[in-house]
Amino acid sequence: MKRISSVNDCVIRFANVNGSGSASANNLFAKAVFRMGVPVSPKNIFPSNIQGLPTWYEVRVNDQGYIGRRGDVDMVVAMNGQTMLRDYMDLLSGGYFIYDSSRQLADDFNREDVIEIGLPLTSMCNGAFENPRMRSLLKNIIYVGALAFLLDMEFSVLTESVEKQFRKKTKLMEPNLKALHMGYEYAREQYPDVCQLKIERRDKVGDAIMMDGNTATGLGAIYGGATVVGWYPITPSTSVIEAFGKYADQLRVEKETGRIKAAIVQAEDELAALGIVIGATWNGARAFTATSGPGVSLMNEFLGLAYYAEIPVVLVDVQRAGPSTGLPTRTQQSDVLSCAYASHGDTQHVLLFPASPYECFEMTADAFDLADRLQTPVIVLSDLDLGMNDHLSPPLVWDDSRTYDRGKVLNEEQLLGLQERWGRYLDVDGDGICYRTYPGTSDKAGAYFTRGSAHDEYSVYSEDAQTYEKNMQRLQRKMETAVSMLPAPEIFCENEGGRIGVIYFGTSSHAAEECLDRLNREGIPVNGLRVRAFPFHQQVSDFIDRHDKVLVLEQNRDGQLRTLLINECEVVPQKLISVVHYDGLPLASRTVYSMLADALQKAGQHVSGDDRNQGGAA
């Protein structure tokens, strides 16, 4: 039997039961790889319940820095009886199966092409530890210790990680270290030279950090100057608010009083959450909310109000698999259409598409400037994969010379100095954006009555047909202005003479770019563009124009980004080929490669490569 053999290029899947503390042990492992300077990417695939159901944690180790999911598994740590057989069957040929050998494997575990590595975890724990809760937690640490040996890792990185983690809980440090050692020793004694997967120190992560997108988003809101938060708990967005709250407690405390320079209101529902944001931004604070699909659906009416009454809003939508409750703990990019055109009547909203924690931070912070400058909702479209999984990311940076751009706001002095009568909805600059005032500015000028009903340039209620129409045209103009303020797309690669392009966004980027590398390496000249905002930049149309066919890769059934592209860039639909994947799992490069290959074939581009991932090349 041929064992899978590689250095710094493997996928290890941990199969556990949720609520058993496995995620933090598995993360300890992933973090250790990262600390050895090797790019790594963990994906937590967890159920929508609190305790007792199957959960998986997939760690990809990849020297070349491909941090999307790969899609197949070299080694599985199978700790869950319910799924054990399937986990066994899913292993690649030549793969490694690690299990708790306190109980014997059943007869159907009979593959010849798999290396079985039994660790008597339960017995070991029962022998070594007293506390029953600790026993079950430490089982996880034992297998991490064993992995360290099997994969030939620097053991000290693990022990240091544990020491760091339990710095403040020294009572826990000792048993954890003990468990690590037990696992390492057991594997060393029983399984020397069994595993041909290796993890070696490298210098490939530079100053990168490993952070989940939601933490970065929460930090972006802190740095962007958000002071008011209206929110309602919903997976996978809750941790955005938790991060904001945590850092507000650290970084926004008023020294003298201990009071917080932020108001975080847990609302009664998503409608109220957005209402709180609207009330706050209208009143001159920076405010935001975070939610997921069901919340966006509930926010439709308020989004229309904010669009029409021109009130800045920052809304973070951490997408999960819809429709309806759908798969609450699975990822998707399927709120694109409903966010772009949310609410009845003619509406359009600005979207930002971060693809990394770095961008979560940056785009969220920028969203506050954009919303203030455009006086309209700006929706940051993240997703569960980006938001809740740790990602390798450039470190977050802030330019200390940066000031908040509050857009067109008049204070009392400016108001009184005006030559002409001020009108809240008067487009004096011709860019569709008008000057606003905050409540309380002056008793002499600047008061106005905001409404979701039709209004004239002085914000007076009006049912006049022309007034209405003119205002609607201005709003359209404003969206045109928006384009120039939004982040431009990123060209990933452009070959002279490449006839075919691929467009993608957000978390589809990792797999897309890995596959583009591979295709280009294989001599198939395919170009890539990552969209970063809607309404689209001219460069997006130009990219499409330059190519004969463009594949649009996204994580939803209906090709929602493609719809936007066709509609807003006035593209011939036949030119855009939909490549969709929407089963709720993070996009795997293996799958993407074969989907792209198929699509390319259809688009008239011959592809020779086989669709299986080979030795980490894809």
């Binding site: 850092y247 201990g258 009071r259 932020a262 209101v265 709180i276 009330g279 405010a287 008061a447 409404r451």
Partner: protein, 350 residues
């Protein structure tokens, strides 16, 4: 359309302490039906703000959707106003208040706007004891959509279409008391003597001041069989107490007889002097207030007056422990921790 402004306009009234004249508190011309109760409430609001010498631009007017919710366009023309969407004024008010705790928030809603579509937001703004005045102009019907019964219409009350209302009514004052409002009162648009001081007290209270004003809809619900008609309310109301409201800046000139008058001091040192009648309702006691409301309802009477005050109540900012400075006044220096802090944070993620 009411070109005529009901009641008490004194063309030569002197300016108030803050130097503003009555007309500085007026708004646009009302487009409500002639005789609509809401216009009288608007007049009372104008009066109360004038008398309290509130700087007009320090008030923020908020509303939902409905005839009542149009009202803020007809008073305080120097204040910023926000006519939001149906039933959602409380959340807008919450956000606005969080952004700047230094202004006065005056929300106007209807019984449809609050007791039906807005029930959830109402309940939770009350529960947070948001520092605002929340006025419901209660006519027992949906005026703007032509007279359907609202959830505050009494069972058996008969509106313009002639069919008696079949459902139990919701008593918003009871709910407000139960959910933790700090100040709760009920009045009648036709009784400016009671309404103006009640609004002044409400405006001075720090926390949720909920005021339910029965405000007849002359077009759809002022029929002989309606329990929200002018006639009915005039005949069936009973005041829990009479009271004087003395704003904190004002000197106390009246002498109150010991035992007969109770003083409730608000956060800002204003005082409500309650003159006890036979009711003897202890207005700082939730249970008594609710019981008195129920008791009167059973007798077919409408209890008016200040029903409940919690002089100790903590508003949302106190609960959330937010800075005493207006959040919307903070800039980069206060809000942005800077790149060094970020570098530290990065380190924690390595």
């Amino acid at each position: 359309m009411t070109f005529f402004r009901p009641g008490f306009r004194h063309p030569d009234l002197p300016p108030n302490e803050a130097g503003y004249e009555l007309r500085d508190y007026e708004g646009g011309i009302s487009t409500l039906c002639a005789g609509c109760g809401h216009d009288s409430v608007n007049a009372a609001i104008i009066r109360a703000c004038f008398e309290l010498a509130i700087e007009p631009h320090k008030v923020v007017k908020l509303s939902g959707i409905g005839c009542s919710s149009k009202s803020p366009a007809y008073f305080l023309g120097k204040s910023h106003g926000f006519n939001s969407v149906h039933g959602r004024m409380p959340s807008i008010a919450t956000g606005a208040n969080m952004a700047n705790r230094d202004l006065i928030y005056l929300g106007v809603s209807g019984d449809g706007d609050t007791a039906s579509i807005g029930m959830g937001q109402f309940a939770h703004a009350v529960r947070r004891n948001l520092n605002m005045v929340y006025i419901v102009m209660n006519n027992g019907c949906y005026g703007l959509t032509k007279g359907q019964y609202s959830a505050t219409a009494d069972k058996g009350s008969i509106g313009k279409k002639g069919e008696p209302n079949q459902l139990e009514s919701i008593d918003l004052c009871e709910i407000a008391i139960q959910l933790g409002a700090g100040f709760v009162g009920r009045s009648f648009s036709g009784d400016k003597q009671q309404l103006v001081p009640m609004l002044k007290a409400a405006l001075s209270y720090e926390g949720m001041s909920f005021v339910d004003v029965i405000s007849p809809c002359v077009t759809f619900n002022n029929t002989p069989g309606s329990t929200k008609s002018y006639h009915w309310v005039r005949e069936h109301r009973e005041a829990t107490n009479t009271f004087d409201f003395v704003p904190f800046r004002q000197e106390i000139t009246t002498e109150y007889a010991e035992g007969k008058t109770e003083a409730v001091t608000l956060h800002d040192e204003s005082v409500i002097y309650l003159h006890k009648g036979d009711g003897n309702l202890q207005i700082t006691d939730r249970r008594q207030a609710m019981d008195a409301l129920e008791e009167h309802k059973r007798k077919g009477l409408i209890l008016t007056g200040i029903l409940y005050v919690d002089p100790e109540g903590e508003d949302t900012h106190v609960i959330l422990h937010t800075t005493k400075r207006a959040l919307n006044a903070l800039g980069e220096k206060d809000l942005c921790p800077g790149n060094d802090a970020l570098a530290d944070i990065n380190d924690r993620f390595r």
